[in-house]
Symmetry: C2
Subunit: 397 residues, 2 copies
């Protein structure tokens, strides 16, 4: 190795099984050579002891403003007459009023996620007529505090709808001025009862501010598929290929194979990514079929211990395990694909620059006590060390 390095990480097990030495200069990988392939004299040497080295995980869908993680336990209460988002939002408002300060709760989640190895994140933040910009102001400040540790994209998320929550379009507009990176949406049909009107606001604001789109879409079956088609059509028409995502997209788990193939081709051609958290008792987008169609499928923790459900561990490696478990992934290539969903595919969906274990990429990586990626996905070892720009920032045993 001739390039000089600030740090040389030796004996790194790469995803292909090779043992390598990784040179890091200025926070980026400057050289990747076979182990023992040469050491620059000015480099500080860190022996990784043959541990698996993977790029830091991508947490593609989280809600930093609404979790109670690290706060008092708040028992879940079901909606009285079946699930109702508005009733749930009211329950959430009541819970949040009694909770620890939002900043503290957001930091709790960030510590959890970073400790598990996620160094890039997309968080939805409530911006609507009920809370205005209050949540966003807090989360923007927290993002600043964590800028050195994790890259956070914020989505202005109309949790109470857009057309049915007075003042929301203006708040969303303001949120994008304040620093949100994307505009969100929520079930245009079932929530606002106006698919065109809802998407007009979402894509109008996206065009006005030159930002991406990430829409929550729980609507299932043909109603959900119709909205996915509408989102894809607007994405193509506006030249937003690669800048639009549909989160949840349960409809893709409801339709037959022929319809799924067609939807996959449409999503791939339009450059619309699909986010799934692999829910436990709900049909969800078939990961392999979509990937084979060329769709970018990424993942996230979604809610962590909040008013919507009590689950979530902020660990994208355990999420990869869950994606595999729920998808019936048994073979090595399948387990590896689940890992791709929480790493490279996530980076693609978020449009991250310089991602991966490659010369020129940012040295954001995680060491894991596993022989290889498939074993890491099934075993989810907790003994990890997290490096940001080549600097060790967290370790857990």
């Amino acid at each position: 190795m001739t390039a000089s390095s600030n740090i040389l990480f030796t004996n790194a097990k790469l995803a292909d099984g090779a043992l390598a030495d990784l040179g890091v200069t200025g926070g980026r990988f400057s050289a990747i050579v076979p182990a023992g392939g040469g050491v620059a004299t000015d480099a500080r040497v860190v022996d990784l002891g043959g541990q698996l080295v993977v790029p830091a995980f991508v947490e593609g869908h989280i809600h930093l403003d609404t979790s109670f993680y690290g706060d008092a336990w708040r028992p879940h209460i079901p909606c009285i007459n079946g699930f109702d988002v508005r009733e749930r939002v009211a329950f959430q408002a009541q819970n949040l009023a009694a909770a620890a300060p939002m900043e503290e709760r957001a930091r709790n989640q960030l510590e959890l996620c970073i400790g598990n190895g996620s160094l890039a994140m997309r968080s939805h933040v409530m911006v609507d007529g009920s809370v205005g910009l209050k949540h966003l102001e807090v989360i923007l400040a927290v993002r600043e505090q964590y800028r050195e540790q994790i890259d956070i994209q914020l989505v202005a998320f109309p949790q109470s709808g857009i057309l049915s929550s007075p003042g929301t379009p203006e708040f969303l507009d303001e949120a994008l001025k304040l620093g949100c990176d994307l505009i969100g949406g929520l079930d245009p049909a079932s929530f606002d009862r106006d698919v065109k009107g809802h998407l007009d606001v979402v894509f109008g604001l996206a065009q006005k501010h030159g930002v991406g789109v990430d829409i929550h879409l729980h609507d299932g079956g043909s109603l959900g598929l119709f909205q996915i088609e509408e989102i894809a059509a607007r994405t193509r028409a506006l030249g937003m290929h690669g800048h639009v995502a549909v989160s949840h997209a349960y409809a893709l788990g409801d339709i037959d194979n022929a319809a799924l193939m067609k939807a996959g081709e449409m999503l791939a051609a339009s450059g619309v990514a699909i986010m799934t958290n692999a829910p436990g008792n709900h049909a969800f987008p078939p990961v392999t079929a979509l990937r084979q169609s060329g769709v970018t499928v990424f993942s996230g923790s979604d809610n962590i211990r909040d008013s919507w459900w009590p689950y979530g561990d902020g660990d994208m490696l355990s999420r990869a395990n869950l994606i595999g478990y729920r998808s019936g992934f048994y073979e090595d290539w399948e387990l590896t694909s689940a890992f791709d969903v929480v790493s490279h595919a996530g980076a693609k969906a978020l449009g991250l620059e310089g991602y991966g274990i490659a010369v020129g990429a940012r040295a954001d990586f995680v060491t894991i006590k596993a022989e290889h990626v498939p074993e890491a996905v099934v075993a989810v070892p907790k003994g990890r060390t997290v490096y940001r720009a080549g600097k060790q920032i967290r370790t857990c045993s």
Copy 2:
């Protein structure tokens, strides 16, 4: 507290939230009193510091003979023409021939399970025309080695069928003489193509040896339900209430609510327990509906990293989490019921004597860093200490 104790565990958080002191004499709980309620002078005191104390978990379905856990990674290979148990058994035979000694692999699994807090277990062990009694002889010896640490029930499991695997009835008979606690079975319809013939052997041997029955039943829909009905009918006719279990019973996840209610009443009346591991991408028995019908639903890891699939962590607390996640359990009572499945319900299904945190019960317990049972189920904290008959045998951070 007036009873003298060998050990006094102070500041134990019980499931009802109360802080208690637990006296242990001769390996059993001799007193449970409010914390600070009085200490016998001759007791050694162990301060549990307010940690949650729960009874040791019950691993109700595992295969000690076939796992590769702790051995080399063996990639999963799918059956060529769709899933086929015989092809899988052949793949397993090939894998096992190349694997570390069975005793070593069984010990690896036991260390994993005990470390996570399971101190009672039911393991199926292959007994059929293909392996004869070879597996059983090894596992019987391992059970002896671990007798002080964990109670193990062994099921003589005809992995290659009974009628279609020559010599199997005789091997099963011999296995029960050698020390198996239960007789197993495997999909009487789809595997042996003879429900009556298969069950005649299973229940005939159960009657001959006075042992219980635990049958693997993957057959779904009406075919599976028919076999469940047959098993329940034989259980009633032979007065085996409480001594029969159906493992997997996927059919119960396929049928409509009315049929499920009827099946639940039948199972409860017959005293047939249902084991589910909450599979990831397959319908499974609805836990709450069955419990509400009075059915004993228990759980197990099933396969851990073997020729059938790569998953499994040998952690019944994480299994409770999975049961909850797959069942849509969000409320505290639901999370608590998932915990019951891996503890008290498991103890009932296995017919364990002296189970629980109660005076007179065996002091087999686990301390967990959680506020209460629902939090333990969603957080699955790894920081646990495992006590057998009041003696600390494992701790993990």
